[in-house]
Amino acid sequence: MATVELRFSALPEHVRTARLVAAAVARRAGVDEAVLDEVRLAVGEACSRAVGLHTNGGLGTPVRVALIEDEKRFSIEVGDDAPAASGSADASGGHAAESDEESDMGLAVISGLVDDVEVTSDEKGGLIRMSWPTAPEPATLP
């Protein structure tokens, strides 16, 4: 299971909490200090996007964040319940065009920031997976 899991009501005021928790867990996992700003920004973007999708879709379910510490990588998964039809970037209907633009900008920032990122969605909802290397173990002496 995830190292830390977070579920929050899809409201903008909780996105900051998700950022703070993600950064704290990433730091503990050994993600480089210099990269923590990127982690904070990327998870914030993913959560803001999920909150937007839930709000626009009138969904009352929470946004899910899983923070996963592996041996060499730290991963974050942000899950929403917006079905692909209304959630995917290429399905912009006229009335939703503006909010789609906003969520696209969020995705643009994420892909600009994170090397390892995967965005998927199906009829049940969407998932953004991102990961960062954790600091290598200090070299062992011969």
Partner: protein, 113 residues
């Protein structure tokens, strides 16, 4: 930390000093401030971001919206920012080509291009 906003005028420029975090929760306050200034006839804005700790795409969207509004009145929107972590977001989104970004408020106030 929340968002702090204060405004003052220097000549024909209005300086908007922003502090704290600009994100999906606080960005609407910044949007309201910019809209109010333009509605009140301030078309040459300098947004001082030296006190900003965090900026996301929602904040970028608000700044772009502000730029559109002042341009409709042949105005300008300049940014003051020296922080690498904030500048990086403007670079990866290509917005460094859209906004004039200055090192200091004095420089932004003096700029005329």
């Amino acid at each position: 930390m929340d968002l702090s906003l204060s405004t003052r005028t220097v000549g024909d420029r209005t300086i908007v000093e922003v502090g704290g975090e600009i994100d999906v929760y606080t960005a609407p306050k910044l949007r309201e401030q910019l809209v109010e200034l333009v509605n009140d006839g301030s078309f040459h804005l300098v947004v001082d971001m030296e006190g900003v700790d965090f900026l996301d795409s929602t904040g970028l969207g608000v700044l772009v919206g502000g730029l559109k509004r002042v341009r409709a009145h042949e105005g300008s929107l300049r940014l003051v920012c020296n922080q690498e972590r904030i500048l990086k977001i403007f670079r990866i989104t290509g917005l460094t080509k859209v906004f004039p970004i200055h090192n200091s408020v004095d420089e932004a106030v003096a700029a005329t291009d």
